[in-house]
């Protein structure tokens, strides 16, 4: 019984040591940085076939066992999992990872490109750092977001990437004009521009006069509540209600003013609206 136990122990030790020797035979570092060189040591097995399979690479070559395989920086540009196979009768395999190098570029997505002023959480940006080989950098790095309007700093928000992403959200500024949004990571800087435009019209007001066959109605210059001119092209609707029923004319703002000629006779009520904003009413009488 004792002999059997000793024999079994010897077998187990031999099996374990055999496994360790096998694992040591084909050796590659567990991880390497993208664009670095690395070497793989191979066991002395005589003639063998060496395979390297990874992202963007698939190589097969005949080698002599014991040779050290040198992988060039160009072979290891893409981050990911690489697999090494060495076949000489039977095959041995090992794997290693290539990790992203230091940031070499910054992808910066900013939304929207055009935003009304004073809108809470209306502007957002997402920054993703990539290394020079376009691998996503997953180790946390500091990114600073700067929002400037008319060369004055509106917001400065430091952030750290998490899972390779940093982001911010901000309220749009108080006045219309260009808003520069910049993401900075070390020496890297990416700039985007958001056009801040006037918000909804405020105090929409019209005047009118009698013309042949109807009325000519016109808004006073249309501005938002902050005093910014509402952009040209914004539609203003004039509605006339009279003895002949109701009719509506849509007119775009041009140089801040919208105007329309409405055909009507007799007593007529003309109202104005733009979006959800209503203006004043005019009570006019068309006298022949």
């Amino acid at each position: 019984m004792r002999r059997i136990l000793v024999w079994m122990a010897v077998c187990v030790i031999q099996a374990l040591s055999g496994g360790i020797v096998l694992a040591q035979d084909l050796h590659a570092p567990a991880s390497v940085t993208a664009g670095d060189e690395m070497t793989i040591s191979t066991p002395a097995t005589g003639n063998a076939t060496f395979y390297l399979v990874g992202p963007g690479i698939s190589r097969r070559s005949s080698i002599t066992g014991g040779e050290t395989i040198r992988l060039r920086p160009d072979d290891l540009r893409n981050a990911g999992r690489y697999m090494v196979l060495l076949c000489s009768g039977t095959c041995q395999s090992t794997a290693f990872y290539v990790n992203a190098a230091t940031p070499g570029s910054l992808t910066f997505l900013v939304h929207p490109s055009r935003v009304p002023v004073s809108q809470p959480d209306a502007i957002s940006g997402v920054a993703l750092p990539f290394d020079q080989f376009h691998n996503l950098v997953l180790t946390p790095v500091a990114v600073d977001f700067h929002l400037t309007s008319s060369k004055a700093l509106v917001l400065s928000q430091p952030a750290s990437t998490r899972n390779g992403v940093a982001w911010f959200r901000a309220t749009s500024g108080k006045s219309a004009g260009m808003l520069e949004v910049t993401a900075m990571l070390g020496d890297l800087s990416v700039r985007r521009v958001v056009q801040q435009v006037a918000s909804d019209p405020c105090n929409l007001s019209i005047t009118g006069q009698q013309v042949r066959g109807g009325f000519l109605v016109r808004t006073v210059p249309v501005r938002d509540c902050a005093g910014d001119a509402v952009p040209d092209g914004t539609i203003v609707s004039f509605t006339a209600t009279g003895a002949n029923g109701k009719s509506t004319v849509d007119a775009p703002l041009k140089h801040g003013i919208a105007q329309a000629q409405i055909a009507a006779s007799g007593d007529t009520v003309i109202s104005v609206a733009s979006g959800v904003v209503m203006g004043n009413e005019l009570h006019l009488r068309n006298q022949p």
Binding site: A30, I57, S58, G80, H134, N135, W167
Partner: protein, 178 residues
């Protein structure tokens, strides 16, 4: 046999044939689906909430992308990569296929299971980051002869963006761990 009985017999035969055709027709599809399973957990995604319909689309398109990837590296053809992949993911996958065409190597992914977790969904919904714990059997072939086969667990960091008619994979990067 009466005329009524003959009609009934013909009707039964037609129905039986139709049923057999439908069953046989659907079998390969089911077998294909059973070898590639994808699960998606969006509970940790933020700052934007992933809507149910978006989740379904991402699941559908991610599954299709892996099916296309498998086909591309098994048959060394670039066509399946057009559509589901863009940007750097498409670039390195294309390089892999081109490199395999030269070396005579091919890879076969079987028994795939992908456990996806959304970790970031941009405020405007224009990019989503997923973590995929992928389990599959990877076979390596040299000139059609199998040289290695092993079950593998790989962690992928994935960036997907919405395209005109589907979600596309822009970044697919294997990492040692999340």
């Amino acid at each position: 046999m009466t005329r009524q009985a003959r009609c009934a017999s013909h009707a039964f035969f037609a129905l039986f044939s139709l049923a057999a055709f439908l069953c046989c027709g659907s079998l390969p599809g089911r077998a294909g689906d059973s070898t590639l399973s994808v699960q998606l957990d969006t509970s940790r995604a933020g700052p934007r909430v992933v809507e149910s319909l978006t989740r379904q689309r991402i699941l559908r398109d991610y599954r299709f992308a892996w099916r296309s990837l498998s086909e591309a590296v098994e048959f060394n053809t670039l066509n399946p990569l057009n559509g589901p992949f863009v940007g750097d993911a498409k670039r390195w996958l294309s390089e892999t296929v081109t490199s395999q065409q030269k070396s005579g190597i091919s890879q076969r992914y079987t028994h795939q299971s992908h456990e996806l977790g959304a970790v970031f969904y941009a405020p405007e919904g224009d990019v989503i980051e997923l973590h995929d714990t992928a389990r599959y059997e990877l076979e390596i072939f040299d000139a059609g002869k199998a040289v290695d086969s092993q079950p593998i667990v790989v962690h992928y960091v994935v960036l997907m963006t919405p395209g005109s008619d589907r979600w596309v994979i822009r970044q697919l990067q294997a990492v040692p761990q999340f």
